[in-house]
Symmetry: C2
Subunit: 376 residues, 2 copies
Amino acid sequence: MEFQLNATAPGSAARAGLITTDHGTIETPIFMPVGTVGAVKAVHMSELRDDIGAQIILGNTYHLYLRPGIDIIGQAGGLHRFNGWDRPILTDSGGFQVFSLAANRKLTDEGVTFRSHIDGSKHLFTPERVVDIERAIGSDIMMALDECPPGTSDYNYARRSLTLTHQWLQRGWDRYTHTEPLYGYRQAYFPIVQGCVYPDLRRESAKFVSDLGADGNAIGGLAVGEPTEKMYEMIEVVNDILPQDRPRYLMGVGTPANILEAIDRGVDMMDCVMPTRNGRNGMLFTQHGVMNMRNRKWADDFSPIQEDGASVVDRMYSRAYLRHLFIAQEILAMQIASIHNLAFYLWLVKEARKHIIAGDFKTWKEEMVINVQRRL
Amino acid sequence: MEFQLNATAPGSAARAGLITTDHGTIETPIFMPVGTVGAVKAVHMSELRDDIGAQIILGNTYHLYLRPGIDIIGQAGGLHRFNGWDRPILTDSGGFQVFSLAANRKLTDEGVTFRSHIDGSKHLFTPERVVDIERAIGSDIMMALDECPPGTSDYNYARRSLTLTHQWLQRGWDRYTHTEPLYGYRQAYFPIVQGCVYPDLRRESAKFVSDLGADGNAIGGLAVGEPTEKMYEMIEVVNDILPQDRPRYLMGVGTPANILEAIDRGVDMMDCVMPTRNGRNGMLFTQHGVMNMRNRKWADDFSPIQEDGASVVDRMYSRAYLRHLFIAQEILAMQIASIHNLAFYLWLVKEARKHIIAGDFKTWKEEMVINVQRRL
């Protein structure tokens, strides 16, 4: 994997770059749609490519490991062959999902033992095992196993957790550097900065992560309950230390405004279930603000969903029709909203990139942050 | 509406024809996907047109009347304008749905009073009112309000029911002939033959219906619990009487084998929720037989869903991947299966038409009826 820095924005830490993988290039900043089990919910692969313009999608190691299982993905020749997506794929380590299981997991120095949310069966994830699984999945970018403590963790817990996370990072890194890809193309391994909302822990973690010399680095454990301003502060603290010449991936973030603020602070990659999950519940994100499509105000608004929208569905269906589909609980409503929201997120980062290169990112962003937060 | 008869099959009552409406032509025999509330479940309008090749879709008067409501559809300028489907639309009268409400409806000579399945509100459908509603919906083919008795009705009930249905047909017909379309294009009105499984009632009804001189005629009250052979027998009895020069629509039927047997007996139009409903449950219909995609046997079958299938999804996704999507309860599974099944049904009637014109329909059909009923 290579990363080429094309431009930085005046008065901002925002950067425009290009990631090259063996499955193609990725223009940064980029938003990555989430395809947890190897499919982005309610979206065809052709729509993802042609209507949304996704350049890279996520898969989740925990979910794929449980279903369809690593033997099936291995027999298929990796996830790309299994799901037919021929552009880059990044896999979450599953750490976040495992720690969400709360009562059904047990943490030791060795790793984490957990019970499947599907059938209650018992499993062990170690940093090494997760690398092996991600090798079998064949993701272009593999994420390290870490502990992701809640945003409300106290300093002592955060401290202990970080020590464990760093041990795990080192063990995962060792496994990564001593194993080869299974399918003939390169796989990068991204370590993850943790440290909750404590600047000294974040700095220590950013230093530790930087020293590994990975192809790219991630910032985890944010947008997990802490105040938004704290999140922005932590991004700044960490990005001051992370190497300039490697992409920085902010995990699980966020709203359109969060995306813009993260880009402004030097983040290159982001993912979030928000455009698809909120879309399925009737929330549309647009460059003019947020629309709750279940609202009665759209019942007789026969204008297109968004006349100047980024996706074909924006002009194919009216607001009144989409509202009707949501009220009648039609699957098509979720399909339309998912395509619209993902196309908007991809449009947003593409515009950001244009303005970074043009040199007017900062003014464009300040205005756009206000627009996207309006209630329509 | 015009109907042109292009060919009849030797040794069969099967016919190939062409229906011309103000929203375009329909090649018969035709299968019509069901879009109950103005959307075919889990299918985009563009997929319906381009991937499935639907020539006409159904809407349901009962459902559209309740949601989004006739004032909204009227304000939109009719259902075509509301949902963006610019090819022909046929609307069910809603009689079948109302009678399915059982405890929540009351039948009188005037019409049927029912409570909404959504909010319990009380409504009255009369034959005249249903014509008015279908005028507001603007369907190209409007179905008459009838009583649809259960397939197990005794002779006396069937007799009384038929008398009422014929009174209603006459009243609906009078309303139809004394009113004008609202949106500048023509609307046909199809009366419906009833009579349960009693040949004399079916004959009487077919005669009554034929005498109205409508643009097309429907056969209702079949596939509602009676033996399949009875259904085929009733189709023969009725089609012996219905005029040759008007299309014949068999309502709510059926499996691929039912479709072929109906075509063989001179039916021109069919609709059914089976391809979409069974598809959402994991059942795929193909020209080689039926596949239950939840079956473990597909887990490691990485071949395309159907190499020689009629739809793009057939080669876009593998059986193993589709099986995984069903097991993981992904919406995309339902989308893929719905497109596949509808494309197959449309392919089946198109092939039937080709063979009717080529003169070898009967032998083709006998073989295909066996193939489509295999369990794969």
